[in-house]
Symmetry: C2
Subunit: 440 residues, 2 copies
């Protein structure tokens, strides 16, 4: 039983980078026992080479000279952990240019410049591994690539952004408004100083682009995904829907219908209380996959954080060192040019149930008007709720839930509803998602 | 991008075997696209070659002549799906003797004859793959082997037996007694005609032996696992504990303490309502893993069934065809002779909370006697409940829950409690399991 030593480079010695160094120090011997690969952190590049980190490196390993890393022929794999998409893009191209494999956790980079990166990797016969880019330490990329490869996948539902899930969980638990919860989350370190990419759904969409490509075997560009964030979520709607048995989550949804048409979207979604994804709280992530053989499989874990992300980075290094990643890379749907483009369904064509809140004028005949307008657009009401007590300008909140209907029907109905003589302001409209049940 | 053809043999053309054939027919092209491996089912051996199955094979593929399969040098991988441990043992040795890799879903075979099988495989440089032996289609073997390889694992908690989970879920839901629910489960096909190995915990222990070896990096024999089944579970206890916020599950528990001592056990366990494993209902399986880097990761899915198991079998074939399994096989903790034996903790030494039900004589001073006896054995009461209303022979059920204590203290206390002047019959004692929470 030979043990092979693999020399690793790392660029970006921040939180996750320190986590990787710590894993290699603390668990390196067990990893070598289990895989036959001794991982040696040979060179760490960061512009800051003086601030002490939670781990200390062997003398001479830390440097601010990227070229030293690129020139070191003994280093075969480089971990990119610098973040952003500008310097990171150049960096990855340089690493590949130096003939080294790349491990990255940078979903924004892959979602925005993936095509260019993958072509560059193919050109030099190297691979890019990105388990850490989606759902922290959950081995979901590996599961879709091989563990579930026997399956034709019809559905992928996920909670991919810990910040949003934390905010929505806190709003649900405390009844506080979005802005207040966001502020508290920032103070606790659960939200970034600039949380835009998290709360507007972009980060969730970046991850959906990667996982949907793997699940449905197609290339996915950001414009193929319909995105709606949580920035406009109002606490009233969380409260009303809760009375009706629903919990609000920012969900990534990928579905393939019987005709092979793929629908990809990110939006706030009401899920039935007590269903597995509805119960995922706080900063956790979860992915629920439906395969034609395996049925429903769900994965749950920490979506981010120093050590969870580092765990996935090290898993990627092991897969590269074993040769698995290299062998599968050129066939990954986002990499190969051979896959025919997917047939994406327009968002207007998807079927969904909806939750609508209308600030209704409290006068005779108003409810009947709503019913007529919805009926005209073939929308069938599944539930309705009106609490007694007045809102502003003699209005009352009316909640209506619908049976499944096409989104474009709902859009048309909402436009027609928007008449100042029967309601105040704009109706609130949120998807209700019935995740298929896996029954005998 | 070359596509390599791998010729597969299959012995045992029953439910799961038919599922494998169906996956290769329906999803074979996608599998080839994604992995570069065209899987060809070249020879299927079964003693029944006439009964029609849900899939039809190409002419000449089905045979009752095992020797034909063994002699076919073009077949590199053979799937063993015959079940049992006698014929299956001989069969696996023959397949290995013919120089072929083995894929099996047979956990009983591995738990009882694993050592012999693994040595035989090592001797001929072939491997045995067994993703399908644990938790159906959930890729948990692969996750422990590589996806979570960066982690030092401290805890593994699982619901591994769909029959038991179905029975306990039904008892909880309907309030019916064990025997009635078992009978109904047999009629619905959720329990075998002879369900002994399921309900007595043996099947769960077989799977724990495999997964604990991978998680904790040690060999595990069946005698290292303390096993208690669900055959004596009474509906009253499910009902009383539910009032106190607990749900009953048959749980496999693997824990490693700070000193590296490993405790392995299978027993009915009360879990707090609303925690992830407590919510796993019906015939589903789940595995919750705690790693020092990744924190808590949970996997959930169908634990058995034709297609879910077949999904895992095909995943194993892919891993062998890619070379991953072969490369890692000789280092697997159950295979290598190099790992030092684990330091197992005796069941008496584990710490646990307990639920006790005593049919108490309804007379003054009795409760104080219980308290004194428990206190004498250093057992601290965490909760108590006594409903009004009489049981048989002027008794009332008294429920006591305890703080963590050593199991041997509880055993000693139970012995002393067993005094006919203060209670009727034998106290019921069930573990309460507080699965660690993964918090920031």
């Amino acid at each position: 039983m030979d043990t092979k030593t693999v020399r690793i480079g790392l660029v970006g010695f921040g939180t996750v980078g320190s986590g990787v160094a710590r894993i290699l120090q603390e668990n390196g011997r067990d990893i070598a026992d289990q895989t036959g690969i001794r991982l040696e952190l040979a060179c760490v590049v960061d512009k800051d080479i003086t601030t002490p980190r939670v781990v200390s490196l062997a003398p001479g390993v830390l440097t601010d000279d990227l070229q030293r890393l690129l020139d070191d022929k003994s280093i075969d794999i480089v971990i990119e952990l610098v973040g952003g998409t500008t310097f990171a893009r150049d960096l990855v191209l340089k690493i590949l240019g130096a003939g080294k494999h790349v491990v990255t956790a940078n979903k924004a980079l892959l979602a925005e410049h993936g095509g260019e990166m993958y072509r560059a990797a193919l050109a030099v016969g190297r691979c890019i591994a990105f388990e850490a880019s989606c759902c922290g330490g959950i081995p979901i990329v590996s599961a879709l690539r091989t563990g579930l490869a026997a399956n034709d996948i019809s559905g992928l539902y996920g909670i991919f952004n810990g910040t949003c899930n934390y905010i929505l969980s806190e709003m649900t638990g405390s009844g506080a408004a979005f802005d207040d919860v966001l502020k508290a989350a920032q103070q606790k370190g659960f939200a970034e100083a600039d949380p835009t990419l998290d709360i507007d759904g972009t980060d969730t969409a970046h991850k959906l682009a990667i996982l949907a490509a793997l699940a449905f075997g197609c290339r996915v560009e950001m414009e193929d995904i319909s995105i709606e964030g949580i920035q406009n979520v109002q606490i009233e709607d969380i409260r009303y829907a809760r009375e009706m048995g629903y919990v609000l989550k920012l969900l990534a949804v990928g579905e393939k219908d019987a005709d092979g048409r793929v629908s990809l979207r990110v939006h706030p979604s009401f899920l039935s209380q007590g269903t597995p994804l509805a119960d995922v709280g706080g900063p956790f992530n979860a992915v629920s996959v439906f395969g034609n053989a395996v049925g429903n499989v769900m994965f749950y874990g920490r979506g981010a954080g120093m050590m969870a992300t580092a765990s996935a980075v090290v898993a990627d290094i092991i897969d590269i060192a074993l040769g698995t990643s290299e062998r599968l890379f050129e066939r990954m749907p986002m990499v190969t040019e051979r896959r025919k483009p997917a047939n994406f369904k327009k968002i207007g064509d998807i079927q969904s149930r909806f939750y609508i809140r209308i600030m209704a004028k409290d006068q005779p005949g108003v409810f009947a008007r709503y019913g007529r307008i919805l009926g005209k657009h073939s929308i069938s009401i599944s539930g309705a709720m009106q609490h007694e007590g007045a809102g502003p300008e003699n209005t009352v909140p009316v909640i209506i839930t619908t049976h499944p209907t096409r989104q474009k029907n709902m859009t048309a109905a909402l436009k027609e509803l928007q008449s100042p003589d029967i309601l105040l302001g704009t109706p609130v409209c949120i998807h209700i998602l019935d995740i298929p049940e896996d029954k005998e």
